[in-house]
Symmetry: C2
Subunit: 158 residues, 2 copies
């Protein structure tokens, strides 16, 4: 099971990278945003938000509005993280709404996850939906749906 | 690629069915709802909605509120459909929010899809998010994210 998923992810990641120039403009913008987001590149990330941008984790019912609050939250959430990556399994868009299905790989200190002093390594399945204003190339809404049960199961064994 | 996806779907479907009793209550309720929804069982479906229930296709930006409007829309949308099924690839929940990643298989008359007089057979990747009121077991929000580009590509070749 795990092997098939892995093969699938590798295959999909490869084909996604191979054809990046052929992607719809909205998906290319989404890839640039996700790169800044997972690289903790807050300088680039700022240019994707404005005062009306919304960051919404629908599964956790957590919402932040505006560049400053979103960046503050991400700075806190990503603190000390060694590696953060989104393995894309499927991506599609309808106009300026881009949907990314995949899993977030996170390696870092376990302090925020009830594992102080340990390095944790988890892969959390999730769906990220990005709604852009294509005129200004800013995020109107970043919405996450995350499989926190799988995350908890993985943490338990670490 | 197609074969691996198919194997994945079969495996997931099987394991989902095998363990239905072990599922969290919210996911069991989601399965009952999806069954009524894909079976066009409007009698059962009515019991899942109330006047505040929202049906929201975020990708198409279409929203209906209340039992009557939702049922009217679904009656129209499902008219004449011969087969409608959701192949679940991954399902998870956080409390009363259930997220289902999979693809909707639809076989039916092509009249609504620009193929009058033909029978079409498509599988549309999508994410369905259900938010329940677990007290009343009603839908607060049914939100769809659908890969309409893949749907259009499949329709083109039929």
């Amino acid at each position: 099971m795990r092997l098939i998923s892995l093969l699938l992810i590798i295959f999909m990641s490869f084909s996604a990278h191979a054809n990046i120039g052929d992607m719809p403009e909205e998906q290319q913008l989404a890839m640039q945003y996700i790169k800044a987001y997972t690289d903790h590149d807050f300088r680039s990330l700022r240019h994707f938000y404005n005062r009306d941008s919304v960051f919404f984790d629908k599964t956790a019912n957590v919402k932040y509005t505006g560049t400053r609050h979103i960046i503050e939250f991400l700075t806190r959430a990503h603190e000390g993280v060694l590696e953060y990556r989104l393995n894309i399994e499927h991506m599609f868009n309808n106009g300026s709404i881009v949907v990314i299905i995949g899993s977030y790989r996170l390696r870092g200190p376990g302090d925020q996850y009830g594992k102080p002093g340990r390095i944790i390594d988890i892969a959390v399945p999730g769906v990220t939906t990005l709604k852009f204003d294509m005129g200004t190339r800013r995020i109107i809404e970043h919405m996450d749906l995350m499989d926190y049960q799988t995350m908890a199961d993985q943490l338990e064994s670490q």
